[in-house]
């Protein structure tokens, strides 16, 4: 089955869909592993939002591509190099601080992306963006609250969240290396960066966290299907059944 996405808008949208899916899968790993029951439920909620968002976006992509394949085909039949998520969301759940920092850095980014997509010429995308913004607002409040609690909580929590920030900021630079597709479908890609920078800097400062100088790493672009090593493991677990039983319907 040829799962190549050919249309430019669909190529842009699949980056968002994949980012949502992979983060949803990472958060699902937290189910029954949360620090207490209420938080376990909250993380599952956010994971469900992300899967739902990915599914709706894949439907739009499949429509644009003439419905030659389905959202499930895209999720379960593509290989590592055919995935286009940002590398940040592949990063593992080393501890709860990693989960929160990854979510926070992601939430600011997608909040601005979907705000800009309200101006899309594609009415399906606008409809989805309206829905997503309601969800992201909650997720953002949740992750930002935890940044505060962990940053200002104890010495240990501050050290853990600082370590997570130091690691995950390495995966940010590529997000803002916009290509022509980004510039076409985002209303204002420059603003995306400035909104993100302002919020991150202000939050880190308010939470007694440092934003260290990070040398740009040599890393190929997620837009070309490049990843960290984590993606292969994540996909092999996620795709196991449809790959092992290609004729089965689930």
């Amino acid at each position: 089955m040829d799962l190549t996405i050919k249309n430019n808008e669909a190529k842009f949208l699949v980056r968002l869909a994949d980012t949502s899916l992979i983060l949803g899968q990472r958060l699902a790993e937290m189910c029954s592993n949360g620090p207490f029951l209420e938080e376990d439920i909250a993380l599952s909620n956010i994971s469900l939002d992300l899967f739902g968002r990915a599914e709706e976006m894949y439907k739009i992509i499949c429509d644009i591509e003439g419905n030659n394949f389905t959202p499930d085909d895209l999720v379960f039949r593509r290989n590592e190099r055919e995935y286009f998520n940002i590398k940040l969301v592949e990063q593992p759940n080393e501890d709860f601080a990693w989960v929160i920092v990854r979510q926070f850095l992601h939430d600011i980014y997608v909040q601005e992306v979907y705000t800009q997509l309200l101006n899309s010429e594609n009415s399906e995308v606008v409809g989805l963006a309206q829905k997503v913004l309601k969800e992201v607002r909650y997720s953002y409040i949740h992750s930002k609250d935890w940044m505060e609690r962990l940053g200002l909580g104890t010495e240990e929590s501050n050290a853990r969240v600082q370590s997570a920030v130091d690691h995950q900021l390495k995966y940010i630079e590529e997000i803002f290396a916009f290509d022509e597709l980004d510039k076409t479908y985002l209303a204002d890609s420059d603003q995306l960066r400035s909104v993100w920078e302002n919020d991150v800097n202000a939050t880190l400062a308010a939470c007694n966290l440092e934003r260290k100088e990070i040398m740009p790493l040599t890393m190929r672009d997620f837009r070309d299907g490049f990843h960290s090593e984590h993606i292969g493991h994540l996909l092999s677990i996620m795709q196991y059944l449809p790959r092992a039983y290609p004729d089965a319907k689930w």
Binding site: C31, L37, W250
Partner: protein, 309 residues
């Protein structure tokens, strides 16, 4: 009999509800704490065997449905812990009792989930037996427990349908899928029936619980209702109940069945099931790995309260 005891007996007699501030016999309170905390722990430990397949769910739809279902179970655990808290025990104490083995949870969750069909069998059979029991508990005499059950039952009926939907897809799917479905039924049938607990004659807590209307129907009665309901569902799926003696008895108006393997049941209850150790270790690890998170939240709360003050 003092006036408090008389008031309590009146409530039970008239089928009214006992509320947290009402006087109640110490043994009534203890029995409820034991039962409600066991029920809560079952919801929470029950997240694990299903969580085992969450990351491998084979479609976007099945993944979302399964995650929503497991999340519901966490929510049920939360209601039930809250019910137990109204009886004067804290969540920390309940967790400590779970970890020490003093408090139990439903033994069914000590069985491994080996294939995707087990997600079907767990929903269909395990949630199916749970519903039969819980529907009956909607009339239990302790008010907060009864009200919690009303809400839980609404969600559980979705869970059972979710399980049966997976069974339908598997049983009518490829030969390999059908084989997985039969295998799951073979493994979960008898343990699901034993979920209702020992036979009435052997049930240690039953008679007092029935008198206090904590329990409204006997183990055997509920079990039979579940069997009668489930055998035709297996027939529709074209699957075979793994009991050669299952047959309709015109005289009793129920299905007959073979005796159960109670030795296995007690062995699993007493800690020697296939996954007892793993389930408890998982629960302990999630709590202990995150001690620092709870400490941070508590420290932050103290600091911000001081600021407000």
């Amino acid at each position: 009999m003092d006036k408090f005891e008389k008031a309590f007996n009146d409530i039970i007699e008239k089928d009214l509800k006992v509320e947290p501030r009402d006087w109640m016999p110490e043994k009534y309170r203890k029995t409820l704490i034991r039962q409600v905390s066991q029920h809560a722990h079952s919801e929470i430990i029950g997240m694990q065997p299903e969580g085992n397949w969450l990351l491998r769910a084979p479609s976007l739809r099945s993944k979302q449905v399964l995650l929503a279902k497991i999340q519901d179970e966490a929510g049920h655990g939360l209601y039930l812990y809250s019910v137990a808290e109204t009886l004067g025990i804290s969540r920390q104490e309940m967790n400590a009792q779970l970890h020490s083995g003093e408090a139990k949870y439903s033994s069914i969750f000590n069985y491994p989930t080996l294939t995707w069909a087990d997600m079907g069998a767990v929903g269909w059979l395990v949630d199916g037996s749970a519903i039969v029991n819980q529907v009956s508990l909607q009339r239990t005499s302790y008010g907060p427990y009864a009200r919690g059950m009303v809400r839980i039952c609404k969600e559980e009926s979705f869970h059972q349908r979710q399980g049966y939907e997976i069974m339908v897809k598997m049983a009518f799917g490829t030969p390999e899928q059908k084989e997985m479905a039969q295998d799951a039924l073979n493994r979960f049938w008898e343990p699901s029936l034993m979920m209702f607990g020992p036979h009435d004659a052997d049930s240690a807590h039953s008679s007092q619980s029935m008198a206090w209307k904590i329990k409204r129907e006997s183990n055997d009665h509920l079990r039979q209702r579940f069997i009668d309901r489930t055998v035709p569902q297996a027939e529709y799926l074209g699957l075979t109940i793994p009991d050669p003696n299952i047959k309709w008895n015109e005289e009793t108006g129920h299905y007959d069945h073979s005796p159960f393997n109670w030795d296995e049941f007690w062995n699993v209850v007493n800690g020697n099931g296939p996954c007892n150790q793993e389930r408890l270790d998982h629960h302990k690890k999630a709590l202990s790995d995150n001690t620092w998170v709870r400490e941070a939240a508590a420290a932050y709360a103290v600091k911000t309260e001081n600021v407000v003050a």
